[in-house]
């Protein structure tokens, strides 16, 4: 279903035909006024055509030259990624190797320091035996053991209180 505007435009441009034209013209309240407006619209069209046509550009050769240059520049830009096509592939690989090596180095350094810090000191075998004795309530339920250690001098002092008896192994040594 055409709107009034569409029918009016088609009528002005003589695009309405047959039954549609008859129906539209019959629906016009003032056909003479409509015809006058139609003539006016045709005048406007002719006027615009006369006044607006023929606007030619100057420097046509330069227009072509400039356009060719832009097309060539665009082609160069488009082909640029192909020339450096290896880069996107190699770059992540190199970066991956670098990151891997760095991570390994950091891991080694950290491990070295941690291991140095955590290296077990030379402990007396008696300490183990006494500690074992302490946890056995049958031997010494109230014993307390304090340990003082100087790593630089490799000296360990064991302070034992409330020990009721020593294990036989310790006694023999």
């Amino acid at each position: 279903m055409k709107t009034f505007e569409e029918k009016w435009t088609a009528w002005l441009d003589d695009e309405l035909k047959g039954e549609e034209l008859a129906e539209f013209e019959a629906s016009l309240p003032d056909k003479a006024a409509a015809e006058a407006e139609k003539r006016e619209a045709h005048k406007l069209g002719a006027f615009l055509k006369e006044q607006l046509q023929g606007r030619a550009m100057g420097n046509e050769e330069f227009f072509h030259h400039q356009l060719r240059e832009r097309i060539a520049a665009d082609a160069r830009t488009a082909s640029a990624p192909e020339n450096t096509g290896a880069k996107p592939v190699l770059w992540p690989i190199g970066r991956l190797v670098w990151v891997g090596a760095t991570s390994l180095a950091i891991f080694c350094v950290c491990t070295f320091f941690v291991m140095r810090e955590k290296s077990p000191t030379d402990q007396s075998q008696y300490l183990t035996q006494i500690l074992n004795a302490r946890v056995d309530p049958a031997f010494s339920p109230n014993a307390t053991i304090s340990m003082f250690e100087t790593k630089e001098d490799k000296v360990t002092v064991l302070w034992v209180e409330g020990l009721q008896s020593l294990p036989s192994e310790y006694a023999t040594k």
């Binding site: 055409k2 709107t3 505007e5 569409e6 009016w8 435009t9 088609a10 002005l12 441009d13 695009e15 006016e40 619209a41 005048k43 406007l44 069209g45 002719a46 006027f47 615009l48 055509k49 006044q51 607006l52 046509q53 023929g54 606007r55 030619a56 550009m57 100057g58 420097n59 046509e60 050769e61 227009f63 072509h64 400039q66 356009l67 060719r68 832009r70 097309i71 060539a72 665009d74």
Partner: protein
């Protein structure tokens, strides 16, 4: 020297030229540009009313056409296809610039006529000074009136009245329905009739 081709010449080999362009031949595209540059430039100029802007937009339109010519399937004429690009580029530009006509920007139209001696826009030697002045005034009035239309209404009225395009061709170029084209024509004509009546009744 690039010259405009006659319609008959255009019909004969336009499709061949398009195929050559699609194969990457810039020379073929150069020929197509030669055929349409005047109409394209004139259309854009009538919409933007500035010679330099019209030049730049015509360049942008043809460059865009070159980039996308691979997608042209020949379902419409090349002429309609290029007009679709032209109107899209120009309407986008107008929307960005938000030109709402005061007519102040049209001064260059007069100056450039005097600057370029090789241009076809040079006034004829036999035109009298008062005739030239009258022509400029008329042109300025028309530009001012067109500037009061929205970009879409400008495109429709110019395609219809100066390019003699059919409703369906305009609809195709603008990517809208024929009904929309007719409706826009209705309002554009009404507006221009109100603004230019004294001119076209008396000139």
């Amino acid at each position: 020297m690039h010259t405009e081709a006659t319609p008959a010449q255009a019909d004969v080999s336009e499709l061949d030229l398009v195929k050559q362009c699609q194969a990457g031949d810039p020379e073929a595209f150069d020929q197509l540009v030669g055929r349409y540059r005047t109409r394209v430039f004139g259309m854009i100029y009538n919409m933007v009313h500035n010679e330099q802007d019209a030049w730049d937009l015509a360049q942008d339109s043809f460059l865009k056409a070159w980039k996308s010519i691979g997608r042209f399937r020949g379902q419409s004429s090349f002429y309609t296809w290029i007009y679709r690009i032209v109107t899209n580029v120009t309407i986008d530009w107008l929307r960005k610039k938000q030109v709402k006509g005061s007519g102040a920007e049209f001064d260059d139209a007069i100056q450039l006529k005097d600057i370029d001696p090789a241009s076809r826009t040079v006034p004829k030697a036999d035109a009298l000074p008062h005739e030239r002045m009258e022509r400029r005034e008329i042109r300025a009035r028309i530009d001012e009136a067109i500037a009061q239309l929205s970009p879409e209404h400008r495109a429709v009225i110019l395609m219809k009245e100066t390019e003699d395009m059919q409703y369906h061709e305009i609809a195709e170029a603008l990517g809208c329905s024929i009904g929309t084209v007719m409706s826009r024509l209705f309002y554009a004509r009404k507006k221009l009739q109100n603004l230019l009546r004294d001119l076209y009744e008396n000139v």
